[in-house]
C-alpha cells in the first residue's frame, strides 16, 4: 500500500531522510516513533506530498509519487491526514468541517455528505456537536472532528502526525479510543506517536527512527521487550519512565 525504496530528502544541507526503505501492507497499522527531529513527521508528510522527496521511489496505492501520470490531488483524496495541531477550519462548524471536502472535492450531493458527516461525527462520539465551531470545542473534541473529517472521505490510508501531543493528558485517551476503533475496522494506518499503549494494542509493527534513518523495526512485543540497538533502548527508557 505504501512503499519507500531508498528514499532521501534534504532540507537545504540538512539530510532529514536517509535512504529509507519501508513498506506498509494493506490493513496494516504501523507506529513510527523516535526522538524529536528524527524525521518521523517528515516521513509521513512525504506520503501525501506535503513534503517532496529528492530521490528514491515512494509508491502509494500503486502510484509512484513524482510521476507525471500521478495526480497528487486525486491521490490525496484516498489518504486521510490527521495533524498535531488539528487544523480545523475555524470559520466552519464541525459538520461543515467534515462535509467540505466530500462536497467540493468528491462532488457528493450535500444531503448525502451531511448524512454521512453526521454518522461519522456520531461515531467519534460528537453527535451533540454538529453545529459547534472549533473554538467551542476542547482539544480532544477538535481532534476527533479532524479524524471524522478524514473518515468522511472514505480514504484507503490514514496518516496520523503526533495526533495526541498537543492535547492535555486527560483528553488523550478519548482520541486514542477513536483511533483504535478505526484500526479495528481494518484501515491501513501509519501513526507517528509516543503512545506505546496504543502501539501494543493495535500496531502490527513499530518503526523506530533516529537522525533521519530507520534504525529498527519489529512487532510491538519484540520492540518493547527486547530493543536491539542502544539508541532504541535509550529512547524507550526515556519515554517509559514517564
Amino acid at each position: 500500500m505504501i512503499e519507500f525504496r531508498g528514499v532521501n530528502k534534504w532540507f537545504g544541507a540538512l539530510h532529514v531522510l536517509k535512504d529509507i526503505t519501508l513498506s506498509v501492507e494493506p490493513r496494516e497499522v504501523v507506529v513510527v516513533c523516535g526522538p524529536s527531529g528524527s524525521g518521523k513527521s517528515t516521513l509521513i508528510r512525504c506520503i501525501n506530498g506535503l513534503e517532496t522527496i529528492q530521490n528514491g521511489d515512494l509508491v502509494v496505492d500503486g502510484q509512484r509519487l513524482g510521476d507525471r501520470a500521478t495526480n497528487m490531488t486525486e491521490l490525496r483524496t484516498e489518504i486521510g491526514f490527521v495533524f498535531q495541531a488539528f487544523n480545523l477550519y475555524p470559520h466552519k462548524t464541525a459538520l461543515e468541517n467534515v462535509t467540505l471536502a466530500p462536497i467540493h472535492v468528491r462532488k457528493i450531493a450535500r444531503a448525502e455528505a451531511e448524512a454521512s458527516g453526521r454518522e461519522m461525527l456520531a461515531k467519534v462520539g460528537l453527535a451533540d456537536k454538529f453545529n459547534a465551531y472549533p473554538s467551542e470545542l476542547s482539544g480532544g473534541q477538535q481532534q476527533r472532528v479532524a479524524i471524522a473529517r478524514c473518515l468522511c472521505m472514505r480514504p484507503k490510508i490514514m496518516l496520523f502526525d503526533e495526533p495526541t501531543s498537543a492535547l492535555d493528558p486527560e483528553m488523550i485517551s478519548e482520541v486514542l479510543d477513536v483511533m483504535v476503533g478505526v484500526a479495528e475496522e481494518g484501515m491501513t494506518m501509519m501513526v507517528v506517536t509516543h503512545e506505546m499503549g496504543f502501539a501494543r494494542k493495535v500496531a502490527q509493527r513499530v518503526v523506530f527512527m533516529d537522525a533521519g534513518a530507520v534504525v529498527e523495526t519489529g512487532t510491538p512485543e519484540e520492540f518493547f521487550s527486547d530493543p536491539k540497538t542502544d539508541r532504541s533502548r535509550a529512547f524507550l527508557s526515556k519515554i517509559l519512565r514517564h
Binding site: 506535503l50 483524496t77 491526514f81 495533524f83 470559520h91 471536502a101
Partner: protein, 225 residues
C-alpha cells in the same frame, strides 16, 4: 483675534458645505470601490508564482507607495491630456484616488491572506483540494474577516486624501471651505467648518471599524490611519 467669528456666514454657506459633503462622500465611495478592484487584481498578481505577473504588481505597488498622492494626481491631471485623454477634473481625481488606494489595499489583502496559518493550507491540501478550492473555501473566508477592519482604516485615509482634489478644482468639501475663505476673507469660518465635516465622516468610519472588529472577533492588523 477671532472675536469676529461669524456663525451667520457659516449658516449662509451651509448649502455649499452640504453639497461639498455629499460630493466628498460619494466620490469617496466610488473611488473606494475602484480601489478595491485595483487592489484585488494587484494582490492576485502578487500571489502568483510566475514572476511575469508578480513583478509588474510589485513595481506598481512600490512606485505608488514611494511617491505622494499629490504628485500622482498632477501626473494624471497634466499628463492624461498629453495622451489625448481629456477627462473632467472629477474623473481624474477619482482615478487617482482609486489607483493610489488600490496599492495599499493590495497589501492589506495580502497581509490578510498570509495571516492564515500554514496548517489551514495543509489541511486543504491533505483533503485533495485544488489551489482554487483552498483559496475559495478555506483561505479567503478567513482572510476577509481579518481584512475588513484595516480596509475601513484605508477608507478613512481615502476620505482625507480626497481633500487634495480641491487643488484641481473639484467641487468637494475642502473646495467649499476655500470658497468661503476667499470670497469673504474668512479662512477660520471656512476651514473650521470643513474640518468639522471631515470629523463627522472620520468618527462615523472609525466607529464602524471598531464595531466590525468586535463583531468579527478580530484585532485589526496594521492599518494606515
Amino acid at each position: 483675534m477671532l472675536e469676529n467669528f461669524s456663525f451667520r456666514t457659516i449658516v449662509e454657506y451651509l448649502p455649499l458645505f452640504g453639497q461639498g459633503f455629499a460630493a466628498t462622500l460619494w466620490l469617496s465611495i466610488v473611488s473606494f470601490a475602484g480601489a478595491l478592484a485595483v487592489g484585488i487584481i494587484l494582490c492576485a498578481m502578487n500571489l502568483q508564482r510566475s514572476r511575469l505577473l508578480q513583478l509588474p504588481a510589485k513595481i506598481y505597488i512600490d512606485a505608488i507607495r514611494a511617491t505622494p498622492l499629490l504628485a500622482q494626481l498632477y501626473f494624471l491631471y497634466f499628463g492624461l491630456p498629453r495622451l489625448g485623454v481629456v477627462l473632467p477634473e472629477l474623473f481624474v481625481g477619482i482615478l487617482a484616488l482609486a489607483l493610489n488606494s488600490g496599492a495599499y489595499i493590495a497589501e492589506i489583502i495580502r497581509a490578510g491572506i498570509l495571516s492564515i496559518s500554514r496548517g489551514q493550507v495543509e489541511a486543504g491540501i491533505a483533503s485533495g483540494m485544488t489551489y482554487a478550492q483552498r483559496m475559495r473555501l478555506v483561505i479567503l473566508p478567513q482572510a476577509i474577516r481579518v481584512t475588513i477592519p484595516p480596509l475601513l482604516g484605508q477608507a478613512i485615509v481615502l476620505v482625507k486624501d480626497s481633500a487634495l482634489l480641491s487643488l484641481i478644482s473639484v467641487a468637494e468639501l475642502t473646495r467649499a471651505g476655500q470658497l468661503l475663505a476667499s470670497d469673504r476673507f474668512m479662512p477660520a469660518e471656512g476651514f473650521l467648518t470643513t474640518a468639522a465635516c471631515y470629523l463627522v465622516l472620520y468618527y462615523g468610519l472609525k466607529s464602524l471599524a471598531a464595531f466590525s472588529a468586535r463583531w468579527l472577533g478580530v484585532r485589526p492588523i496594521g492599518s494606515r490611519t
